[in-house]
Symmetry: C2
Subunit: 377 residues, 2 copies
């Protein structure tokens, strides 16, 4: 057993020395664990969408070439950290060794999903990814991964399909943070904005029909908000209307600031107290700011967010809004999101349709509305 270990994994950093595992070029992925580490027997990698898209595009859809490059990255870096996109993904597997000082509460044999990025998770692949065709983000794999004392993993629930659970856990920070922020606005001691103190806060979710978007809409309404889901296509609008998880649904291109702000204002009767950005395309910062009331909050969950565009945009619009970088971690976030899916059948069906579309390789943009409507009713 390794002697001295760091709770954030510094002892696994090979190059450059002194940085955190995520910033490292190369990690030590050896299987021997420290006293506060956990080893996972890997079953499946779930590659980040941006990373998989980049690799597929680079290799013109040649699955064998994509597989070879993923293997090469993991072998060279000791982690699945795409050097072009800077992103990783997550994995599922079974706990096969727990150090005596691990604070994660895991036991040997637990089936878990890691909730920290693959970009900082020591990883070794032993099967050459031989059962993966390189054609999808879900990668069957054998090997091992290491969790540190400050890593996070969730035990997969028995009552949910693992693919659905993984999809929910992948974005579970979004509904949890939305809940926290909306409750702050809903609490009676909050600073009054232009609204009446006793009225419900209003929330706009950009990309409301997606995974993080639909969970955030459901969380916002449960926290006491009146909500609008903004979607880019009529098909998504119909799907979201059918699900009934938003009070209002509107069509708008989130990259078009004025059109977006008008859509939000029309539906809510004014700009939103809280705007949640779940659209994974660049250029949504100005619209989100313009759609938010003075004293309001914008939560940026999209990894396509530009820090400079947000900072300079708010200044240029003289907008007194609080802008949050969406933190993927909050205490209890996994349990919160899974409970939301159990409590909201319409959200579950929306998500299942998305997961099914991703797994089967087809990119359908909408759940089956009739089915969703039935669940909501």
């Amino acid at each position: 057993m390794k002697e001295r270990t760091s709770p954030v994994g510094l002892h696994r950093v090979l190059e450059p020395v002194g940085v955190l595992p995520q910033a490292a070029w190369q990690l030590d992925a050896s299987p021997e664990i420290g006293a506060d580490e956990v080893r996972i027997a890997v079953q499946k990698l779930n590659l980040d969408a941006a990373s998989f898209r980049q690799l597929t595009t680079k290799h013109g859809g040649d699955g064998a070439a994509v597989r070879a490059e993923v293997l090469e990255i993991i072998t060279n870096r000791g982690k699945m950290h795409n050097p072009v996109t800077g992103s990783g993904g997550m994995l599922i597997g079974t706990v096969d060794a727990v150090g005596p000082d691990s604070p994660l509460g895991l036991s040997t044999g637990d089936r878990v999903a890691t909730l920290v990025s693959l970009t900082l998770t020591p990883l070794t692949i032993t099967d050459g990814l031989s059962t993966w065709d390189g054609q999808g983000e879900q990668v069957p794999a054998a090997g091992h991964a290491i969790l540190f004392a400050r890593s996070i993993a969730a035990v997969l629930p028995d009552d949910l399909d693992p693919a659905l659970a993984l999809a929910v856990l992948d974005v579970c920070g979004a509904p949890a943070l939305t809940d926290r922020v909306v409750r702050r606005y809903a609490s009676s001691d909050r600073q009054a904005t232009s609204r009446q103190p006793q009225s419900r806060p209003t929330v706009a979710v950009l990309g409301g029909a997606g995974k993080s978007g639909s969970l955030s809409l459901a969380a916002a309404r449960r926290a006491g908000a009146r909500t609008v889901g903004i979607v880019p296509t009529e098909a998504e609008a119909e799907s979201l209307r059918g699900a009934g998880i938003a009070n209002h649904v509107a069509l708008a291109d989130a990259r078009s600031p004025v059109a977006l702000a008008e859509a939000v204002t029309d539906e809510l009767g004014g700009p939103a107290d809280v705007t949640v950005v779940c659209v994974d395309v660049p250029g949504c910062e100005h619209g989100a700011i313009l759609a938010t009331a003075p004293g309001g909050t914008v939560i940026f969950f999209s990894m396509a967010t530009s820090f400079a565009a947000a900072a300079l945009g708010a200044e240029g619009l003289a907008a007194d809004v609080t802008m949050l970088i969406g933190n993927g971690y909050l205490p209890g976030h996994a349990e919160f999101a899974l409970a939301l899916v159990r409590a909201e059948p319409a959200v579950r069906i929306l998500l299942e349709a998305r997961v099914h579309a991703e797994t089967s390789g087809t990119r359908i943009q909408t759940a089956d509305s009739a089915e969703v409507r039935q669940a909501a009713g």
Copy 2:
């Protein structure tokens, strides 16, 4: 007079249509103003440091070539928006026309600094920048600029040197937001963290001897915090200690997460409730997160901040911290910062030394400690 104008300047966008002025490639900088616009007779441009550095490097320090490219950018784009760095700067001038519906409260003859970026300010230069040698960020210029209804400008105070006032106004969002966040932690009804409810909140400012850093330190202490200023060199440490605006001063490289967190923890007796990032170099996100207590807040003012590094970093560290994108605008931010400089002679002397160094083209890293100490005493 132009007929219908947009408060955010959409009517001045030539290409591409439908985006906000900052996102536009080209603006209409014609001098005729709309009913809610203001025209400024330009006296000086203050180029953004990153923009000027890029141009100087590109042209190998050839001032004439730098001047020619600045002129070309303004002529082509109708604004000073460096296409490589994406940044602009600010300007000072005199109000020479005010539309009847302008809400900015300006009068003809007022000497003002614009507090919105040059990247969204319609600008025409009429003197070919003939009195500028291309060797410094301060650009004497003649021409005109346009302010929209939602632009922001501050009347330059009579009692402060214009160069000092400009430097303060350039970063005035930082102390104002620091004040707001610290007061939230200091208020008695706040959620208790690990600290005793009645103890003072603690604040770490990375880059505490710089312009935004020293103002943020002074604002934090006035808001009731116990503070530590983190600086990279012994000369800056001595200067900041001499000024006496921080309770503690420590040396650390903000890009080295573990060393930074240790320095903060050693000085404050634990991680900070609020960490303010004012260091304009990439790679400070992980250290700032690691130096902040659970339930604490990180305010990112540095334009070198990476959204992805912050979001994934907090998740990877399982850090329950609120991360704010530093908004350059808060109501009353200019008056707040100027009042701070008047009330804190040591801050004023630190800033004057910085401004003097920049204006004279030499890059000294420290104010004169004896002078600063005297002012603080």
